[in-house]
Symmetry: C2
Subunit: 442 residues, 2 copies
């Protein structure tokens, strides 16, 4: 396969190391005990949404498919496991031949989810499925957290475009996945070149305060930028005095100046003043971009301000208060023997003290009300009721180890917007509340 | 260079893509305008600590050195920049020859920092320094956030070892850096195999609930695990009934059972009961490991409980409420011309509305009181006062583009513990408060 398809902007020999030690020791014990081949069903779900959130957003599915496809143990990895005595020789031999050969179904990427929604279902032998736990959860927990924040921000921003610019606030490779997830959640562009390289997301950016400070005067800096990048560029106007900077900017660039960026101060007030000043100077088409620790609330509070675009960094890449989802990967059913035709038995943790879950291989459907608006997330383990048959949420992603459902990121992004539009209106309220539709078990 | 030295567990052609679009457009404009070669000093610092925190922890410096060393634009990257019209041909030509040739000084990794501390200082031409902003901040902001949380947890845990097990709660590669940062902050081991592979951090783990559920009975599961992993293994005892499980565990493993793990319920209560039961069964040396959404407060609350080790996941990799630091990379001084001997002028953003900073190339020293306890973080731009000369904090990391200060992770970890021990006692209070020592500007 093309290493550019790995979900990273880099060559990766394998995703198999993104795995917790205990997945391999469980494998060893199951191989030794004769239970490794029992057909098993694992499901990914959350027990709750982050506090106050109305819906979750599934993101990272495409990266999961890449990770599964590339999950293999080459000589370097096997040597490491041997030297560290992580597992024994029979287990190493088994790992050397590892290829996932099972089936994966899941919510299509960009879909929304609710407590209990089986966003991914992995089915195969216990051995081949258990190994995938860590990397699948890493991807879905991270990417879905970012996409959920992005979705709230994009709904708060309405038609105004959002620029993802949080790379400096998160791990350098998490940043690439964050740009991707932000795009899924409705962002328009990113500052991150790696995200442009890897996922084709449009990249943007012009200058920082350092560029102005490098020059002997703001005027020199603006002239240098306009000379090189053209009048359509965005000038940063808050290094010294904003009013003076806007005047200088239009003097140098003329009324066709592309945009000005404001990165500090009372954005509501400053945006109004700058708009007025630009209009007076005849720069009626010059846009105003604001950036400064924005989150969905700040974006919403600027709805009435003359702002044309928002740049969002920290709060986006940290999930706006919820940097990870609480998705878990749980064994929900398994065969009673290694016989491929053995029936599946539902299983679940049962101890007192929480963390219990619902056993059994589940279907999921979203019931609509008479107006076509989502009304409930319905889950069950038996037959799907006829009236919900065409509202099922799980789609086939991997069949017998082969990925069967790759899709372009733009399709994922469009799906998310469409699905979000099908939720009750209160879904996009920013105030804290419960999940916007209930989860019902049948 | 060896690609294993890149700070990632994977081959990376370059770190140059982990860069914001605007760094390159600033470069283009500066090259075009003749200011690109002005000698410049950038400093990394925070304006504040996360709310309530007493100190910050510098982590990621080693990864920064790897990233700088590997920051280069190969043909694939240059083609991407050309096709997307990110910058013009003269800039692409300049990038093709890019090698950082300047100097970097910084707080040694594992040091603590306070508001304003110049944790890293990058000096060279504007062009070569400005490009490094994004990747340097990505690494330091992420890694330092994790290390700060780890440090609080390890101080709360006292002599009991901490296991990092948060890979599933963060991006798969951020997880590797998080394990590294946790180790710097005092953690003992990790569940993440990639962190073991890349950084040599000891990896641990035995089994999950899925392993128990795979079997026809808990007894079968325990027997399979003991048979394969030996009596020294750790059995997970909270899948069904804890008391029953502990009884079964000791029956099968005997009194030399290594440990039991409790992952749910009222850990304080359950740990006491399990300890009592183990002692009654003669398993006096069997340890108790607890894991279940622990943070520094939960760890502290278990200080009096008979717990031998803590496993920490979510709260560690999300920085225990502060998933990123607010480090910025600011131009603080630059020459007035491209002449290499031109004097440096201090510069700083000055607009109303916040985000101002202190210009000038700074020294930093930690003043001690008569008992040798840290008393103040002293920063200045002039000559270092004689009494602080031997308390300076910045060390040379890169000289003329060559890394001169690599060090083993264990040395970094030891430094952190020693430095933390030199802070006033209130530093390790978990309650919210101000920075434990003030920052003074001279």
């Amino acid at each position: 396969m093309n290493t550019a398809d790995l979900g990273l902007p880099v060559d990766v020999p394998s995703t198999a190391l993104f795995t917790d030690h205990y997945e391999l020791t469980m494998l060893q014990a199951a191989l030794h005990g004769g239970t490794a081949d029992r057909r098993s069903v694992f499901e990914v779900f959350t027990r709750r949404l982050p506090e106050g959130r109305r819906y979750g957003v599934v993101a990272g599915t495409g990266r999961v498919l890449d990770a599964v496809e590339n999950f293999r143990f080459d000589a370097g990895v096997l040597n490491f496991l041997r030297e560290r005595n992580v597992v024994d020789e029979p287990t190493l031999a088994w790992l050397a031949d590892y290829r996932f050969s099972g089936d994966i179904w899941g919510y299509p990427e960009g879909e929304v989810y609710f407590p209990g929604s089986p966003v991914l279902r992995v089915e195969g032998s216990f051995a081949e499925c258990v190994l995938l736990e860590t990397v699948i959860l890493s991807i879905l927990n991270h990417d879905s957290a970012i996409a959920a924040a992005a979705s709230r921000m994009s709904s708060a921003a309405g038609d105004r475009p959002l620029i993802e610019m949080g790379a400096r606030r998160t791990h350098e490779l998490a940043a690439v996945a964050a740009s991707r997830a932000a795009y899924v959640g409705g962002f328009a562009t990113t500052s991150d070149l790696a995200a442009g390289f890897r996922y084709g997301i449009p990249t943007v950016g012009t200058s920082a305060h350092a560029f102005t400070l490098l020059h002997d005067s703001e005027r020199d800096a603006f002239r240098a930028q306009i000379d090189s990048l053209g009048e359509g560029t965005t000038l940063l106007v808050d290094t010294y005095d904003v009013q003076e900077a806007v005047k200088t900017a239009v003097e140098i660039a003329g009324p066709k100046l592309g945009a000005v960026r404001i990165d500090s101060g009372d954005l509501l007030l400053v945006a109004h003043r700058v708009r007025e000043q630009l209009d007076e100077l005849g720069a009626k088409d010059t846009k105003i971009v604001v950036t400064s620790d924005l989150d969905e609330y700040a974006i919403a509070s600027l709805a009435a301000a003359p702002v044309d675009a928002y740049g969002v960094g920290t709060q986006l890449v940290t999930g706006s208060g919820h940097p990870t989802c609480s998705m878990v990967y749980k064994l929900v059913a398994r065969a009673e023997s290694a016989d491929p035709d053995a029936p599946l038995t539902a299983v679940a943790k049962k101890s007192a003290g929480g963390k219990t879950s619902v056993g059994g291989r589940k279907w999921a459907a979203r019931r609509l009300d008479r107006n076509g608006v989502a009304e409930a997330e319905v889950l069950g383990t038996g037959a799907v009721p006829a009236e919900l048959a065409d509202r099922q949420l799980l789609v086939e992603l991997v069949r017998g180890g082969e990925v069967v459902a790759r899709e372009p990121l733009d399709a994922v992004r469009e799906r998310h917007i469409a699905v979000r539009d099908g939720l009750p209106l209160s879904a996009t309220q920013l105030s804290r509340g419960e999940a916007v539709i209930p989860t019902e078990y049948q």
